[in-house]
Symmetry: C2
Subunit: 295 residues, 2 copies
Amino acid sequence: MTNEDLDRWVREELRSIEQALDRLVPADAPVGLGQAMRYAVLDGGKRLRPLLVRAACDASLGHAEAATRAAVAVELIHAYSLVHDDMPCMDDDALRRGKPTVHVQYGEAQAMLAGDAMQALAFEVLTPEDGSVSPELQARLVGLLARAAGHAGMAGGQAIDLASVGKPLSETVLRDMHRRKTGALLQASVLMGAACGTISAPAWQALSEYGAAIGLAFQVMDDILDVTQVSEVLGKTAGKDMDANKPTYVSVLGLDSALAYARALHEQALKALERSGLPAKHLGWLADLVVDREH
Amino acid sequence: MTNEDLDRWVREELRSIEQALDRLVPADAPVGLGQAMRYAVLDGGKRLRPLLVRAACDASLGHAEAATRAAVAVELIHAYSLVHDDMPCMDDDALRRGKPTVHVQYGEAQAMLAGDAMQALAFEVLTPEDGSVSPELQARLVGLLARAAGHAGMAGGQAIDLASVGKPLSETVLRDMHRRKTGALLQASVLMGAACGTISAPAWQALSEYGAAIGLAFQVMDDILDVTQVSEVLGKTAGKDMDANKPTYVSVLGLDSALAYARALHEQALKALERSGLPAKHLGWLADLVVDREH
């Protein structure tokens, strides 16, 4: 592997993901809803989840059109959760991906509706009526995504987050919160990609462990970047979690231990990939990106 | 048909629907999220959509367990839309089904999350991992529900609603709004029930027309009841749409013409049922209920 190979792969994948988002997120939804949805999801974001879907699909020699739809669906779920999270009744944030947040741009009511419609669209995207994805795979992808997005996953993690502001949390509770809040969707991205191909049960299990490890590593790095970077680099308000008195890996473990923990999780992820026995080069690169990123 | 048969059928169906909701909506979601979700969907509501699913499944001699899951899923979508609709940034309503609305009871952030988690749960319920519903049917039901809930259906209708407050609307735009906002999900309820069985393309088309007619009839009656009933009977704030200067069928057509329109739609629905050639007695009863109801 060279940096050049990685850069080329990411660039090509991102182009293809952006095209798919542009194609599948409708501009013609009634009176401003389509614009708000597109504003929320196009031209922004690291696209880590779509990249994970595509990389896992590559590793399992999977169905590319299905993986593209899965990539769009998982990004729609992620993007809708940011729209709702940023609203005044939640985190009340005005800046996201370097732009005004959706409710600042379009009003709160339209932001809530756009988020709701984006969640529905994710499941619509996974169930094309043109025969391009088999019904078995459609059902599998919907099941994985719905479970990762709902009460046992992302929404459940957000509920723990909501209840934990200003409270001292143990590392165990903090980990449970993040496993659900961000980890579940990142892990689902890997598994949805893998579901597009055919892999053995042990390889599936190994990818699941890879997904869990990088899911947690991503959050630990997020907490580290929140205190070490400025808003301009992050594209969102820096120091926000500390200011809001939210428990983070840095506040619970300290900065040095948090960094060491991120490195250990990265190592775990790479070992799981090795164990999978799959040609999982792209997933390895993404594990590196998760811990080496600056925003 | 006697009233007694109808009453017995509705009573038995409602018992079975409530049991399924109780079983499938989790109490153990993290820190209050499960309670908020159950508060939003249990012990309340007319359950018209679940009844339509079950009745259409009866008419198509369909798969009962699949129809039960479809009924729960469609009610979850309906209930989540009410939770979000009632929030301060939308309709700002404090009373629903005779109880304080979810955000009044649990706070705005939890209400938004509960709504989000309910939408995800709907798609989780449609994709059981126990083999009780075939993957083909799972994919079909998800596709129907996602399209009815999203930008082209319910969420799109709400966006039109949002943009139309205080503006004079033609009957055409009003109808388009309601076809999406309430009609799409009512029609999808019928089609999801029908999808659980095996019916001919013409019968499917006839049920689709039945669903569209009662969907619109339901909204026309809603507008009529909003001005003719008091809050105690409705279980929600009466006169609300008029006060909010929202266009309704009564404000656009006048009360007498609105009533005549509801009756004409009822007639259309019954004719479509006849054309379907299906044993659709229960769907006929539900069409009667839609226009004869008092709340």
